[in-house]
Amino acid sequence: MSTLTEISAGKTKREVIEQAVIRFAGDSGDGMQVTGSQFTNTVALYGNDIATFPDYPAEIRAPAGTVPGVSGFQLNFSSGEVHTPGDSVDVLIAMNPAALMVNIADLKPNGILIVNADSFKENDLRKARLTTNPMEDHSLDKFRVFPVELQRLTRAALQHLGLDAKAMDRCKNFFALGMCYWLYNRSMEPTVRWIEDKFKKKPLFVEANQLALKAGYSYCEATEAFQISYEIPPAQLSPGLYRSLSGNQALALGFVTAAQKAGLRLFLGSYPITPASDILHELSHYKEFGVLTFQAEDEIAAITSTIGASYAGALAITTTSGPGMALKTEALGLAVMTELPLVICDVQRGGPSTGLPTKTEQADLLQALFGRNSEAPIPVLAAASPADCFWIAVEASRIALKYMVPVIVLTDGYLANGAEPWRIPTLDEIPGIPVKFATDPVDFQPYRRNPDTLARPWAIPGTRGLEHRIGGLEKQDVTGNINYEPLNHENMVRIRAAKVQAVVQDVPNVLPSGDAEGDLLIVSWGSTFGAITQAVKGQREKGRKIGHLHLRYLNPLPANLGDILKRYKRVLVPELNMGQLLWVLRAKYLVNAVGLNKIQGRPFKQTELDQKIEEMLGL
């Protein structure tokens, strides 16, 4: 936290700073995700740039007070540009010893540590497998520690309401949130409104949570516990109207937008899977836009119903994560063969198999590119940030409809749950999506192609005179009749490949940020965009000649990519996998690129990127 100015605020000091990272950590039942989201919403509304990192266990309620049950929510907010949730934190709120132990390593020296003092009894320590009490053993001496009896104080504030102890204790996260609002000098108003809306059917809970929130704020004011509070002025984002958006929300909005732009009904076939389910939840709300959501019996029915809906003329999409993607494989081939437009979203998570359901990873790239029997190319797009998920959804839909192909969208757990400010576009800023159904029965042929896009006509059932049959068997070009002849098969395989390659017309040439040529080019894709952008910025400020290329189109790759790779002495490809894009670039461009690979279910830290960059620069 770099100090800019100090202003007086009563007896306590108020310091104006540029940026801060705060992390809420507690049991998965402590409401840390809600607390973090509320703080995020409030600072975003105030105008700070933000990046968030919710990190929660796969278990809904692991045993209370234990290390596996710890859930965390980290927020980086700033008056400047923010690209990542931050490597280390300025403020840590730890609701119990387990949360403290899991997170303390990330707290900066002299950082603020707020702990729930009521949860450091012998039994609590044993559940966290601690032999000594960290509040007493001097292990926290390098931090500014604020033990607060969150449970006792919350109960005291709520005792007149007649709630039982358990219900009162469930409000203590709002007490902690109130303290944080005081610490960063933020209005409680957005959260007060949110509580009102959230518990509108339970007025007693509205009162209890609001009281706890205000009690936390007043506690700081009355006790002057912190001695100091902070002020982070609004960021200078480009002008416009903003809202905070998570990647999953952004995808949902993007698909509704694409359907409206195309004048089609949106159909989602989906089976619940972490971390993609929120897209299904979001879209199931948008019925006034004619959105049809179908919670299928399994992943296979999710995609095959989507293929059916596409055949019947809807903008049809399916959403899943890696294990579901694996189940959809055969149906993806059917969509390739029948040349129907649909969008498949893979919100990647740690694998293989069930893997790390709630953690992030980028290891489905090769599955997206190649994971089907035989020659079955599919265009693949990847979102770079939570808000970019909106634009990727629109673009994937546009390409699917223009070329009559299935399109795969890759995001990941980090993008899905992370949030950032999104400048709300006007409708004119969103590309139009022209769609034309075939209607003319004269000389109709189901596989006659548009010469530019190689798209076949979209001839939907119910159109008189266009009766025809399609399916997974190899077919003759133009007529679409079943055909097993050797040369026809080769011709069709090549046409399907050429069609996907033709999408390159819609892939913009890429321009590296930073140096246009030089010592090192970093090539990235997906959710690593923020971390790498920040690292490159830092390195270039030190005078190093580095370019950064971030790919949103993974198939086909931008036409000028090969040329750009040649302009740098060395090429680095950081990925949260074992080197999948690296493999593609080396194979396709014969470039001696090097990987930086992390497979821990977590995003890159700046230090990890800096170290590798400096190693490659021979520093």
């Binding site: 416009g240 509704v256 004619g290 299928a296 296979i300 055969e330 025809h468």
Partner: protein
């Protein structure tokens, strides 16, 4: 949309120019012919028919029907068809499937489509064998059956397709036989007139890999002796001399009784296909394999009071539009807490 009256459709309108590639003598020819005869009589414009299939001999069906057709992948036809029907409820969607396609690899989709009551008609061609892969046992093959993959006899207990459909609470369940053409056409028409999910098991012979699959009911005299033809409102009577029937036992089970010697038709169960609960139909469906019991054909269950899935889902949309007004995209994008940067 044109309003010009078109000449009435005929069987020929539903035939395609594609060469039919089933083995000569296959029961599928008879089913194809029956469907092509029934479709023109349904009062549905040809372009509104969609025939969807999975994989297997039966699943070649769409290529031979001059309608919209979709030959999908193994077992998934009910799911593809559900997507079509939900997105476009006015279409008349039929699924052609087999015992392997619908009950083995696609069992999950079959039961869930039926449970949801999606307005799709399913024709299950049951030949009790895997034909297209040349002769392995299927989920309907008899216990101990010797096949290519079970040289010492099948260890599997078979499914009874109509029991399964009734167990999934399908609202229309019927059975017919490939060579009983008149009965088959009547059954298809009954299925077509049902608004919800309709499941029709068609007993079909595979003269290459399982010849005589159903001779127990199709050979001379067997039809009258071994088959119980169900008719709504009529007592359960069978036999060449119509001298046997089905009676309810005091314990709730059923028994076969000889009419005469103190037992008359009035003691027999009167077939009620429209009963809202599936338990009676399930009891009927379980007669085969019991010594002395006949095989029931016809409509076991036709209860059409349940709303169709596609109607429920589309009505939800309409209700919300009525309540909130049609969606306004600009407003949606600006929803929630927003802030302005100048």
């Amino acid at each position: 949309m044109t309003t010009t009256a078109l000449p009435p459709l005929t069987k020929k309108d539903f035939q395609t120019d594609q060469e039919v590639r089933w083995c000569p003598g296959c029961g599928d020819y008879a089913i194809l012919s029956a469907v092509q005869s029934v479709f023109p009589e349904l009062g549905v414009p040809r372009e509104n028919f969609v025939v969807v299939s999975g994989i297997g001999c039966s699943s070649r069906f769409p290529y031979y029907m001059n309608t919209f057709g979709f030959h999908s992948i193994h077992g998934r036809a009910p799911a593809v068809a559900s997507g079509i029907k939900i997105a476009h409820p006015e279409l008349e969607v039929w699924v052609a499937t087999g015992d392997g396609d619908a009950l083995a690899i696609g069992g999950n989709h079959t039961i869930h489509m039926l449970r949801r009551n999606v307005g799709i008609k399913v024709l299950l061609f049951n030949n009790r064998i895997y034909g297209l892969t040349k002769g392995q046992y299927s989920p309907t093959s008899e216990f101990h059956k010797i096949t290519k993959s079970t040289p010492y006899g099948s260890p599997d207990r078979p499914f009874n397709p109509v029991s399964l459909a009734i167990g999934a609470e399908a609202t229309f369940v019927a059975r017919s036989v490939d060579i009983f053409q008149a009965h088959l056409k009547d059954t298809l028409k009954a299925a077509a007139s049902h608004r919800g999910s309709a499941f029709v098991e068609i007993l079909q012979n595979c003269n290459i890999f399982n010849d005589g699959a159903w001779t127990g009911i199709t050979e001379k005299d067997a039809r009258s002796e071994q088959v119980l033809q169900l008719e709504h409102g009529k007592p359960l009577v069978f036999g060449k001399n119509r001298d046997r029937g089905i009676r309810r036992k005091p314990d709730g089970d059923i028994e076969v009784v000889q009419i005469g010697s103190g037992i008359s038709e009035s003691d027999l169960i009167v077939h009620d296909a429209h009963h809202p609960r599936p338990s009676y139909a399930f009891l009927l469906s379980h007669m085969e394999g019991r010594p002395g019991f006949p095989t029931p054909i016809g409509v076991l269950r036709a209860w059409d009071d349940l709303p169709r899935y596609e109607d429920v889902i589309n009505e939800q949309v309409q209700d919300v539009i009525q309540k909130k007004g049609p969606g306004d995209l600009a407003k949606l994008l600006r929803a929630g807490d927003t802030w302005e940067v100048k």
